[in-house]
Structure formats: C-alpha cells, structure tokens
Symmetry: C2
C-alpha cells in the first residue's frame, strides 16, 4: 500500500470538553480516549503529524499569570503558548505511546516545540480580535484596560474578555525536522496552539510577539510545506454544513475548492468556528495539496475511505 503523509489537526475538544476545568486527570483521560478512537491512523501506511488547539489551556496559563502576578513574573503570550505546547504535547505523546504499546506497534512519538513566523506588519496587530482567557465584570475590564493596556471586548452574554492579535502564519520554523521525523516513521506532535508566534527583526533575528495563531491555518501552512498528501481537520461535527443549524441545513460530502470558496463568500461558515477550518483547507489546497478532509473523530475511519466527512478536492487544473 502506498505511503501517505497526513497532517491531522485535533480540535480543542480532543483534550478538554467545554464544561471541564482543565485538571490533569481530565486531559489525560481525554487524550487517551482520543487516540483510542484514532487508532485507525496508526497503520504503517500513514506517516503522521498531529497538530492541536490550546484555547482553554493557554487561557488557564494566562489566568495563573495574573492571579500569581504579585509573586511570580507574568510571562508574555508567546511564552504561555510555549508552556502549553510542553504540557499538552506531553499529555498527547503519553497517550499515543500508550495506545501504541497496547497494540504492540513499535513507533516512536515526539513533540516538537514549534515557532511560527508571522509578519509584524500583519493588520491583526492593529486590530486584536481573538478572545483569550476568562470573562470579567465591566469594572474589572475597565481596570485591566487602564492598567495593563489590554484591549477588551464585551461578549453580550458572558461579560468582558481580553482580545489579542491573531496574525496569519507565514512559515513553520521547524517544518523540515517535523517532516523528516514523520517520514522515517515517528509520530510527530507539532505546532501546538497554532505555534509560538515570532517575527523577524530588521537584523534577521527572531523575537516573540504577544499574539496567538489560528491552529487550523498553521496546520495548513505546515501541511503545504511538508507536502502532506492530506490535511485532516478534526472537529465536533461529522460534516461541514450549509445553512448550519437551520431547517435548510445541508451536509457537504464532496466539494471542490471553487464551490467551497463560493459558500465561504456567501457567509455559510461561522467566524471563530467553521470559517477558519474552511480557510485552512482552501489555503492548503492552494499550496498544492490534493485533498482536505473535515470531519469528527468518530467518522474518521469511514472518512479515510472516502465514505464520510466533507472531502474537499482541488481539480489539478486549479493548483498553483
């Protein structure tokens, strides 16, 4: 059977359910369950790179920064992302190792701390819009905006929340090592939380920035750079839907990039939810990828055979 290099983007729910607080027990149990369900990917024909979100985890780290700020220096957001790559990479790699051991599969697992280059002229830096961390009362929010210079926005239901820039990923610094390690059979966990955002200064050196990068977009950039055969974006629903959560809801099974770009333009996909996944799939396919797949974990075994999930195809003539 032909060897396939897959980039698999795990949704935040793979490690933490929305109602959970983020204990180690929860994260361990969820990671273990996720890789039990994903065991079909451990077949020898698949070279594997896993990426993952870090929303609730980096939110907790930011909150710890704040609550412990009188005694422990708060670390900037790039370093918080790095911490979350460490802890989540550990949870995930331990779960993968254990799933492999139970199946007597001899493959190694490695988490790579991943820096992702962004452009310091990215308009996102002028317009922070990615919510992060806990909700605050209006009075707390006023205080934080005044004393910490945070930008904050009101969420109609739940209070005020800090927003940070979410610039577009340009390049995954460790892409060649990630690719080479996956191609020799190791299972690689990389670009956690979208990667640690860094910019390049005039002298050519790198510097971290206070931002977060969308993990689906980073996964797409990585999948393009390593020439992955497929990008799999795992989420909470089995299909991408038109008119989602309306009586006209219609699941998409096979769709071309041109069709999908049209639906995107028509506003079918919710910002911060399905929209970045669609943008990521299109970005990857524009970079020469041949197939992107969006589905949920339970549907994956059938989806790999083309029998479930939303398969997004790029006709050869449309590739750059």
């Amino acid at each position: 059977m032909e060897q396939e290099l897959l980039v698999v983007a795990l949704g935040g729910n793979a490690l933490l359910a929305p109602h959970e607080k983020g204990t180690a027990q929860e994260q361990q149990a969820n990671s273990a369950r996720t890789f039990e369900e994903l065991a079909c990917l451990f077949r020898p024909q698949y070279s594997l790179i896993f990426t993952h979100g870090n929303g609730p985890q980096v939110g907790n780290i930011v909150l710890q920064n704040e609550l412990a700020g009188s005694e422990v220096p708060a670390l900037p957001l790039d370093v918080c992302v790095a911490k979350s790559e460490g802890s989540m990479g550990y949870f995930l790699q331990q779960a993968v190792l254990n799933a492999l051991r139970c199946r007597r599969i001899r493959r190694y697992v490695v988490t790579v701390i991943t820096q992702v280059l962004v452009d310091r002229k990215d308009p996102a830096f002028q317009n922070p819009n990615k919510p992060i961390g806990p909700f605050y009362t209006p009075a707390q929010a006023q205080n934080l905006m005044r004393h910490k210079g945070w930008k904050m926005v009101e969420d109609s239901q739940r209070g005020w929340r800090r927003v940070v820039p979410s610039p577009k990923p340009i390049k995954v610094i460790q892409r060649y090592m990630i690719r080479d390690s996956a191609l020799i059979g190791n299972i690689v966990i990389a670009a956690g939380g979208g990667g640690i955002p860094i910019i390049q200064k005039a002298d050519g050196t790198y510097e971290g920035v206070e931002a977060v990068i969308d993990k689906d977009l980073s996964s797409a950039v990585l999948a393009g750079a390593v020439k992955a055969d497929r990008l799999l974006i795992l989420t909470a629903v089995p299909y991408v839907c038109l008119n989602f959560k309306t009586p006209q809801e219609k699941p998409l099974r096979q769709v071309t990039t041109a069709e999908l770009a049209g639906y995107l333009k028509e506003g079918h996909f919710a910002p911060g939810s399905m929209k970045p996944k669609i943008e990521a799939a299109l970005l990857y396919l524009r970079q020469g990828g041949s197939q992107a797949l969006i589905t949920d974990i339970p549907s994956l075994p059938m989806a790999l055979k083309g029998k479930a999930g939303t398969q997004i195809l790029c006709p050869k003539s449309a590739r750059t």
Copy 2:
C-alpha cells in the same frame, strides 16, 4: 576533522541568575548571552544535544499553581516539568537560532519534549529529599503538610521548603529521535529539567509521577544511550576542586574515573551541587563513554582543546 557527538548539560544559571525573578526579558537575555559564549560549539564537526536544568522556572510554575489554585486546577509535578520544557526550550532554541543567523550558519534547532522512565520502586519515593519552590514560615509549612500532604523540611537559614522524590533516571524515551536528529546536523534541546518523570505500569503503559529527576544524571543516561563522544557538564566554576572553598582547595585537571570515585567517597563534593555532576560523569563513563568534562562556560573553548576544565577519563580497560 572527525565528527563528534556532544551532550552538553547547561546549568540553571545559563537561563537565570540566583538574584533574578524569572521574567521573560531575563531569560531571553541570559539565553542569548549563553549561546554567544558557546558559539565555539556551532562548528560543523560537533553534533549537538543540549540539556538544561529548570530549578527556578519549575519553582515559579509550582508557585503559580498554588497562588491561582482557587480558579485554575493545579497540575501535578510531571506536567509542571513539561511546561518548563516548553517555555525554556523556546527561550533556548530562539537564542540558538539567532546565534546561528548572526553567523550565517544554516542548521536547524529543535526542542524535544522528553519523558524519562524511573522505577516506581526507587527508594527516592519513600524518601523525598529534593527541595522545590518557595520558602515558607513554620505556620504555613504546618498548614501545607496537613492539607496538601506535602513533605517539607526546614532550611536552617531561610524557612521551610517542600521536598519531592528525585528518583534515578533509567531510560530516556525519546533517545533515538534525539540522536538521529543530532546526527544529521540539527541542534537538539532535550531532557529539560532532567525530563518528565514517568513510570511503567504492570500493563506496560506509562504514567507520570510527582517527582523531579536530576538533570545531570538524565544527561549522563542520555549521553550513554546515544553513544555520545563526550559529556560536557557546564557549571559555575572552571574546575572541579578537592577541598573546595578551603585553604587546601586544589583544582582537578585530568582525573581518571577510579581516582574521582575515590574522591567522591572521601566526601569532597557537596550534595545538590558538585556531587550529582561527579556521579553523572562517572555514570556516563561506566556506560562506555570515553570522556566527561566539567567546567564553566567561559573556559569551554580552551577546555574543548584539553587546556582547561576538569577532564575525566576512563581507561579503556575499565570500561564495561
């Protein structure tokens, strides 16, 4: 020139001086300075694996856990080590990348989240003795021992402190990936803070444990497993000394394992300071290593040529 695989263990002071609090600025500046001073290692003949301590950093993470505990679930010590591997790996890899860029050297840098196997029957679990985190008043200590079940000890000068088990490292799980990546020219950062301590359960699966592993001992186990040509242990002094800080102080320049083991037995080396480094050097050489070197960063260029530092040699006849 012949290719040499080096394992280089960085002391805690490479990232944080004793008087510093642990801000990102401090850790960035110290990392940058460290690799400016270590630039002699970036020559093509050296394949490089860096390891590092994490004392003050993991202390800060543990303290944040505690101070934010009412709102954010505290994570166990194995996960705290994983977080420190993420953040410190990031600081170090960014500094290495920048040092390489300034010299127009094209090599890649990767931090590997590293699990290290320990024995759950290790006597250290019955006798926690590694101090971690901040100092407490006697009343605070009483409270923490009662409510959190911590073991704590009194430090005659500075108050009470939590102690945790420090079991011996048995095996570095990611050793082959670390070796392979270093041998093809990548600069690898691994086993940060001595590695994330895990045990193997009866069913063969892995589980994290609340402990910390001595980073010099983990470095020795790693250096043995990857068949490193040399183990370099960087510390605050240029030489290992007999009768350290006495009028009879005598630096050791070249010493055999048999001589050094004798000095160790005579009690020349302070526990928690030079003693674990000596034990690490001897452990590595017992596993087939040919030379260990203990020195400080400024002396390294001369020490690599055999003209400074303490060179510890194992006569071929003494190797196992």
